[in-house]
């Protein structure tokens, strides 16, 4: 029950994150080109496009991480791992998962603190067209939380593999 709910939730979240990612990529393409046109044809360079492209990259890291992990696209050094049986892989995953969780919990915990600090400082980009930074900062722990959900879901699957008595296959 928990497993099925978690599975549906992470799937929905990652699909939504992927969709935001599409938008961000198209944004970078369209506005990267318009910036040049504004500079050359209108002699009126934009003072905000460059900054928003950088902000888009941070958001792309947020949503891209969620989408990529959900679709098993995080690269591993599977030199030994690749040849392990499903069960052995699951055991290795369970052993290393605490390190991933440690990193993600820190990202959420310290990321939330950084977001609060940003709000307290009322951080804006020091550009001539200022853009508020704190919404971007708060997106980071949020992304960390969703990535953590996916890691936990995978951990539960691994535990099921180890203790669920499923046949050991290569």
């Amino acid at each position: 029950m928990l497993m099925r709910g978690l599975d549906a939730l992470t799937r929905a979240i990652s699909e939504f994150a992927g969709w935001i990612g599409w938008f961000l990529i198209l944004y970078c393409m369209a506005f990267g080109v318009s910036d040049v046109f504004m500079r050359y044809l209108l002699n009126n360079p934009s003072q905000w496009i460059g900054t928003t492209l950088q902000a888009a990259m941070v958001l792309l890291a947020c949503v891209g991480g969620i989408y990529s992990l959900q679709h098993d696209s995080f690269v591993k050094l599977d030199l030994f791992y690749a040849n392990a049986t499903t069960r052995k892989k699951a055991i290795l995953d369970v052993l290393t998962a605490p390190i991933a969780i440690l990193f993600l919990v820190t990202l959420i915990w310290k990321g939330y603190e950084a977001g609060q600090l940003s709000l307290m400082l009322n951080q804006w980009t020091p550009t001539s067209v200022p853009i508020p930074i704190y919404p971007i900062k708060f997106a980071i722990p949020l992304a960390g939380f969703f990535v953590l959900l996916i890691v936990i879901k995978k951990l539960l699957v691994d535990l099921q593999t180890i203790f669920g008595g499923e046949p050991d296959e290569a």
Binding site: I25, G32, L53, A61, S68, F74, L77, L79, L102, G111
Partner: protein, 435 residues
């Protein structure tokens, strides 16, 4: 606990975790967090900070944009057309496809300042094609990886910009200093593939003798690559014509591919979605590794480990040659765990005062440095090009296959590095001639 021991453990724990199969980004970030928690908890703040400031970079915008361009090109069919032209022209030579791959990567390198674009594009296009013609997997992966790494050496080059600013060397001169070594390596790779496949044709079989092409077929194959050529002219043109920055040029490349697909009637919803999906996936994977590598570096510095490097260098006997060799060795070893910019950021400020003191040409040192970084891209276990290539290859290709493929190319890189070491003119002649 001594600093030496802590530093050693910092590396060992990372390797152990990575070899147990934890995703690279989590391994880097998690190891850093573990050590920060034990030794200097306030360094934990660097985790969200790195997450924010690493992607906050105008040059990294080129990554998703070139990925998007590459993916669109793949669906437009023009990349296959370009590849087909290579095949028809030199497919009769054993290893011809692999040699062609190196050439296309070289052209890609002149458009981008980083390595992923050529690596991922050719990984998606050239690899399946070479598999179809029964190429040996190692030659196929190796030529893409080695060719892709050229992106950082042949101008424009982001590592050269980082180095130039920190070392106070003209970036324009550095760009020119990278050109000859880059072309030299591309030539080495081509010769190696050609010679090796001549003796072991099973590694890169020539096309069957019944497949012969007339001059007309060859010509039309070459002409069919016009959109590819146009794309390169657009991207190269806006950079070298002073119209756009590299980041904007990448946007032009993506938009150009967009338009070309439209003209070819290939801009369907499915193509667009598939391209966007793969771009989001790969960017997400890559950015998280970059962020993990930044956190790893920040904690490395917090531990105070960089002092070890300076002491190591200065303790080296053999005068300036000994010191230079030690520096190269350190860059290589760090290249096993750190990203290129992290190594440049860490080492340049430590090395440049020593280089100045010894009166060594910083332009030459820059070329040695970046060629070395090239080697770091390809050396297991931690090489950025290797991760990118693994990201795009079919799931049945393991990291071990990737590792096994790069050996000969790494050897060639070392040959190149040694030549530049012995004959600095390979790097310095062009920038000095242009002054």
């Amino acid at each position: 606990m001594s600093l030496e021991l802590i530093t050693a453990l910092y590396f060992i724990v990372l390797f152990a975790i990575l070899f147990m199969g934890l995703p690279v980004s989590f391994g880097l970030g998690g190891t850093a967090v573990l050590f920060a928690l034990i030794i200097e908890p306030r360094a934990l703040l660097s985790v969200p900070s790195a997450f924010y400031s690493t992607p906050w970079s105008s040059i990294l915008v080129t990554v998703p944009l070139f990925l998007f361009m590459g993916s669109l090109i793949r669906f437009s069919g023009i990349a296959e057309a370009a590849y087909d032209a290579v095949y028809k022209l030199i497919g009769h030579i054993p290893g011809g496809l692999a040699m062609g791959t190196v050439q296309v990567c070289t052209v890609f390198a002149a458009i981008t300042g980083i390595t992923p674009p050529a690596t991922t594009t050719m990984g998606q296009i050239a690899y399946p094609s070479m598999m179809r013609y029964n190429y040996d997997r190692r030659i196929a992966i190796g030529c893409i990886a080695a060719g892709g790494a050229l992106g950082a050496l042949i101008p424009p080059s982001v590592p050269f910009i980082f180095y130039g600013l920190l070392a106070k060397v003209s970036i324009g001169d550095l760009f020119m200093a990278g050109l000859m070594p880059g072309l030299m390596l591309a030539l080495f790779y081509t010769i190696y593939i050609g010679v090796r496949c001549q003796f072991q044709p099973e590694l890169g079989p020539a096309l069957p003798s019944d497949e012969k092409f007339t001059a007309g077929e060859k010509l039309s194959a070459v002409l069919s690559i016009w959109p590819f050529a146009l794309l390169i002219v657009i991207v190269l043109g806006v950079i070298w014509g002073g119209i756009a920055t590299p980041a904007e040029a990448a946007a032009f490349g993506a938009a150009g591919a967009f338009v070309i697909n439209f003209i070819y009637g290939k801009l369907t919803k499915a193509v667009l979605v598939e391209s966007l999906v793969s771009t989001v996936k790969l960017s997400g994977m890559g950015l998280w590794i970059l962020i993990g590598a930044t956190v790893y570096l920040n904690v490395f510095n917090t531990l105070g480990s960089q002092d070890l490097l300076t002491n190591l260098v200065l303790s080296m006997p053999g005068g300036s040659t000994g010191i230079l060799l030690m520096m190269m060795l350190i860059i290589l070893i760090l290249g096993m765990v750190m990203d290129d910019w992290a190594i440049i950021l860490l080492c340049t400020p430590l090395f440049i005062p020593i280089i100045d003191e010894l009166g060594i040409d910083k332009l030459w040192f820059g070329a040695l440095f970046i060629v070395n970084i090239q080697i770091a891209y390809l050396t297991p276990p931690f090489g950025f090009v290797l991760f990118w290539i693994k990201g795009v290859l079919p799931k049945d290709v393991s990291m071990g296959d990737v590792y096994n493929s790069v050996g000969p190319f790494v050897v060639l890189q070392f040959v190149g590095l040694t030549l530049i070491f012995i004959f600095p003119e390979i790097a310095t002649w062009l920038p000095n001639a242009l002054k």
